[in-house]
Symmetry: C2
């Protein structure tokens, strides 16, 4: 199975290739988009052990001169220090403006490699080879790159579009179940905010909690619909001036939950799942979305075996100030993405603290 999704941006056009065994064609496809010369491959030790050889052999076979930077795995290493390590390898190996960085890993590796490429020689090409479901359907596309700052997640960053996104579903074979479910949270998001057909497919599936229950055909469809949704939204609003903000559905409360639990207890996808439950309930509390829709969303999240409750030790009094420190704040007002029907969402700054509080109180 192979699907190519073109992404059309004013100054950047690139393809998202979804292809079984695609990793073997990394070098050939890089050549096909006109790249040659030096490649810096960035990965983490676990992913590199599984897929590093395949990637490097493919690149070398296509004539690339490959160097590598292996960074420790985990969100807590998503810092400017790691970017410095990538820069060190890049400049010691004399990368040129025509060189390419390849991100082989999950969202953390993708965000960091993208940012390192954005800030090397004032911007060199980056190719995203996501290895987690979350990165495949979200982080690898759209050009958001960056690292965390002690004051908040992704505060340091830049927009830098990839030259190619290569998604090989095979690499999900080694993805831990919890990571798979985390990625499914973003898939469910696209069903709610953009594609009712995707939502229906998810609703009809027996189980969504492990890859082996999902099956190759549905997985390919999930990847295709999710990537197309993201490509549609990003094409219409590259720099998040308006529409693109709907991709943050579930992320307002989600980011606060991640931040307040120190990015440890709850992972990003789980936090987004919790955030979607909250956003759905807020929309229902404001009479913008029927209770039945909130229930249908909840059923899919439960079928994925994602948490739907707030972590027990969380204090609601901490959540509201944390929301205000989010970078999506505009003139001090917290902006929420709320569903208006299944397949469509909108952005509002009209959610009161009282509503947020009463919804969250029901979520323990």
């Amino acid at each position: 199975m192979k699907t190519v999704i073109p992404v059309d941006l004013p100054q950047n056009q690139y393809d998202i290739k979804i292809a079984t065994d695609g990793l073997q064609y990394l070098g050939a496809w890089l050549s096909a988009i006109g790249k040659s010369g030096k490649v810096l491959l960035v990965s983490n030790p676990v992913i590199f052990k599984h897929y590093g050889d395949t990637a490097i052999e493919s690149l070398k076979a296509a004539g690339f001169d490959v160097c590598q930077c292996i960074l420790p795995a985990g969100e807590r290493y998503k810092t400017l220090r790691s970017i410095e390590k990538i820069h060190d390898v890049a400049f010691t190996n004399r990368l040129e403006r025509s060189s390419t960085m390849v991100a082989l890993g999950g969202g953390v590796i993708g965000d960091m490699t993208g940012f390192a490429a954005a800030t090397s020689l004032r911007g060199i090409a980056v190719v995203q080879v996501p290895t987690s479901l979350l990165a495949m359907v979200d982080a690898s596309m759209g050009g958001k790159t960056g690292v965390n700052h002690p004051q908040g997640k992704n505060l340091i960053g830049a927009f830098h579009q990839p030259s190619l996104v290569l998604i090989d579903p095979n690499v999900l074979a080694t993805l831990p179940g919890r990571e798979f479910r985390a990625g499914m949270a973003e898939v469910i998001k696209y069903g709610i905010i953009w594609n009712e057909d995707l939502f229906d497919q998810l609703e009809q599936a027996q189980r969504l909690d492990q890859m082996r229950y999902v099956g190759q055909a549905l997985l390919h469809d999930i990847l295709k619909h999710s990537c197309q949704a993201k490509a549609d939204v990003v094409s219409q609003d590259e720099k998040e001036a308006g529409l693109r903000a709907i991709l943050n559905y579930g992320h307002t409360i989600g980011h606060a939950v991640e931040s307040l639990t120190g990015y440890k207890l709850v992972n990003h996808g789980e936090a987004v799942g919790i955030g979607m439950v909250a956003a759905g309930a807020i929309a229902t509390a404001m009479d913008l979305w029927p209770q039945t829709a909130t229930d249908r969303q909840l059923a899919i999240i439960q079928k994925t075996n994602l948490p739907t409750k707030l972590p027990e030790n969380l204090n609601i009094n901490d959540i509201l100030p944390t929301l205000r420190s989010d970078k999506k704040v505009k003139a001090g007002k917290v902006r929420f993405v709320l569903p208006k029907r299944i397949g469509a969402a909108f952005v509002t700054d009209q959610v009161t603290d009282d509503i947020i509080r009463s919804v969250l109180e029901e979520m323990f």
Copy 2:
């Protein structure tokens, strides 16, 4: 005297305002381009002592909420560490996407503030208020931002256009003579590569080595012609795909001289002056430029009291490998900008090591 030079880029339009006493209008002009809310002013201790109060009062009078980050002066502090300090102040003060950074200083402050703005919240607005002649005619325009890496100058960086460039010639009153002459090197460059009228004006001037000999009227003309030249070139080639490379006239040898002397003995403008002498001689050696033109260029550089010889302790055997580590290298070939007549230049990778060596040997 007041001149406004519009810069037209595909996705960015902004003005360069050259105005006596313009610093007093910083706040008003920021409002005029639609800015409001928080401003982070970045400066160094010397400049801040002279002009910080005027800038801050102007911003506050226009209703801005101002915080500041004062960084030590000097090229050796142009590092990722300084960027982290700007980020810390920015995020501690909860800057938002609609906030603005203002760079009040020379090229180092301008490059760092621009890069910090480029990498904060994936890009916020920056206003350049250059206080050195070099920054006024070069670094503050065109959107090149960045910091140095142990492997080379400006290797870490991004393109990020300013929202406004405010040039107040009054602030040059406190500029040391050596810094003034360094800025004149870039002015002379524009005469050679772009504007024959500017070259003629410089040729007719009695002395160019100190501001008080230049006078207000000629200074305004110099600023106007230089900024217009840079705006012309950058508008035609924002991302340095082709034409923009001619702005690197004198910079190929210049960067090597700076790098090999540890960025201490020779400043950037002086290095560019030396680089222009070398590039002129190379063009003459290759029969591309008459000896008389090389002599006329040399006379203006001498009249500015800029060095025209290589530092004594420099070893020619070190220069060639250093040229190859420059980020302008493409497929391993060193690219030179050479003059073809006064007012026009071109880029070539056809300069042989033998020619470089023989020209440099004559420059001790």
